[in-house]
Amino acid sequence: MNTIEFRIDRRSGVATYLQIVDQVKQALRLGVLIEGDRLPTAREVAETTAVNPNTTLKAYRELEREGLVEPRPGRGTFVLHSLAKPAGADDSPLRAELRDWITRAHAAGLQREDITAVFTSLTDDHYGHH
């Protein structure tokens, strides 16, 4: 069974291998992928997305370099660590606070784009530009 299916956006301008890296990380954060899961093989990815298998392998090497996954010869590539943070889970207080804030921002007349802009600007200030 496949644990994750990648969606490649050809218009995004983001390199295909980075899209795969990002989608794996996203899945790790959201708990879609957990420790011990096998990532789809380069062949399986190619069958659904027609992406060059070397690109998939390059993405997996990047994830391996970051210590997130591990190749096991002859068996596939497996997840080493989940990135799911309890603090970011559905029922965490931090999430509830942000939901609260968004409700207030909406009431104050901010649109979706305004909220995203504020959020991006503040996270950039805090963590530095990507």
């Binding site: 050809r10 062949r43 399986e44 190619a46 069958e47 027609a50 992406v51 060059n52 070397n54 690109t55």
Partner: protein, 298 residues
């Protein structure tokens, strides 16, 4: 036998009655790459692929597949070729078409061939002439991969397919390559789709190589800059356009780019289109693609 280089061309040329279709081409493609061969119509793409498939003979220079010169009939054993019109015997059934592959190729892999046909739900007893374009392409792929080639050469494999068949064909090609490690060289006009499939690129214009190398090296070598400045020196300019006061250019930076320019990383399509529009742009070959000068005799 040499497993490092799937293709090595040195001084390769082909002249027809109307003139040179391919001239003084020296480049190489490492084994395991999926290489896109791009160029305008009449640039010599088909000629190059036909030379590799031993369907035509070069007028000048040498061409080697895995170290074996194409003047040696053995060179055909390690490669499979899919011409643009994907010729198959229309009266043969699918099964007979696979049998053709089995009878004529000592290394034939029936399992691979049947898997590719089966994935398209094509009945083995159907006559090839009754199949759709996409199905025929699938059968041609089965024949090509069943040979278990080290090098698969495809001439415009998706040119005549509808979008769905095109995606399926691309997916089959990529999936089968994943298992076999086959080197693929395909010519195509579909720049967008090449970007996902190819990790290596050869661009031909007027029978000459304009660009060759790993996509990962070719792309970072270019910058898309926009600004009001007029001074593009000392950078190598591939293409520049000026609209009113604004200049947009695709350059190969030589040193730091002046801060007055807005700089962006081009995507593969940007780079290819720029080179296609500017046939006089300076040639770029990465170290991997360049054939060492004291060339091996043909």
């Amino acid at each position: 036998m040499n497993d490092t280089w799937a293709i090595e061309a040195h001084g390769l040329g082909k002249r027809y009655r109307r003139g040179w279709a391919l001239r003084d081409c020296s480049f190489r493609i490492p084994a395991g790459r999926i290489c896109g061969l791009v160029g305008p119509n009449g640039a010599g793409k088909s000629t190059l692929l036909n030379l590799a498939a031993r369907l035509r003979r070069p007028t000048a220079g040498s061409l080697r597949l895995f170290g074996t010169s194409i003047s040696d009939p053995e060179a055909i054993l390690r490669m499979a070729f899919l011409p643009q019109d994907k010729p198959l015997f229309k009266r043969f059934t699918v099964e007979e078409t696979l049998r053709l592959g089995r009878e004529l190729n000592p290394g034939w892999d029936q399992t691979v061939a049947e898997r590719i046909v089966g994935a398209g739900n094509i009945p083995l007893h159907a006559r090839v002439g009754t199949l759709s374009g996409g199905q025929r392409t699938r059968v041609a792929f089965a024949l090509a991969f069943g040979k278990r080639p080290n090098l698969l050469v495809l001439d415009e494999p998706m040119a005549d397919l509808d979008p769905l068949a095109r995606h399926e064909t691309a997916a089959t090609l990529m999936a089968e390559t994943a298992d076999s490690g086959t080197t693929v060289v395909m010519s195509s006009h579909l720049l967008g789709e090449l970007a996902d499939m190819c990790d290596y690129l050869v661009l031909l214009c007027d029978g000459r190589i304009r660009l060759a190398g790993d996509v990962d090296e070719l792309l970072p070598a270019h910058r898309l800059i926009t600004g009001t400045g007029a001074h593009l020196e000392p950078h190598t300019v591939v293409e520049s356009r000026t609209t009113g006061r604004q200049t947009t250019a695709l350059i190969r930076p030589e040193g730091a780019i002046a801060p007055s320019w807005a700089v962006a990383e081009p995507c593969l399509e940007d780079v290819l289109l720029a080179y296609l529009r500017a046939p006089a742009a300076p040639v770029l070959m990465t170290d991997v693609a360049r054939v060492p000068e004291p060339a091996v005799a043909a």
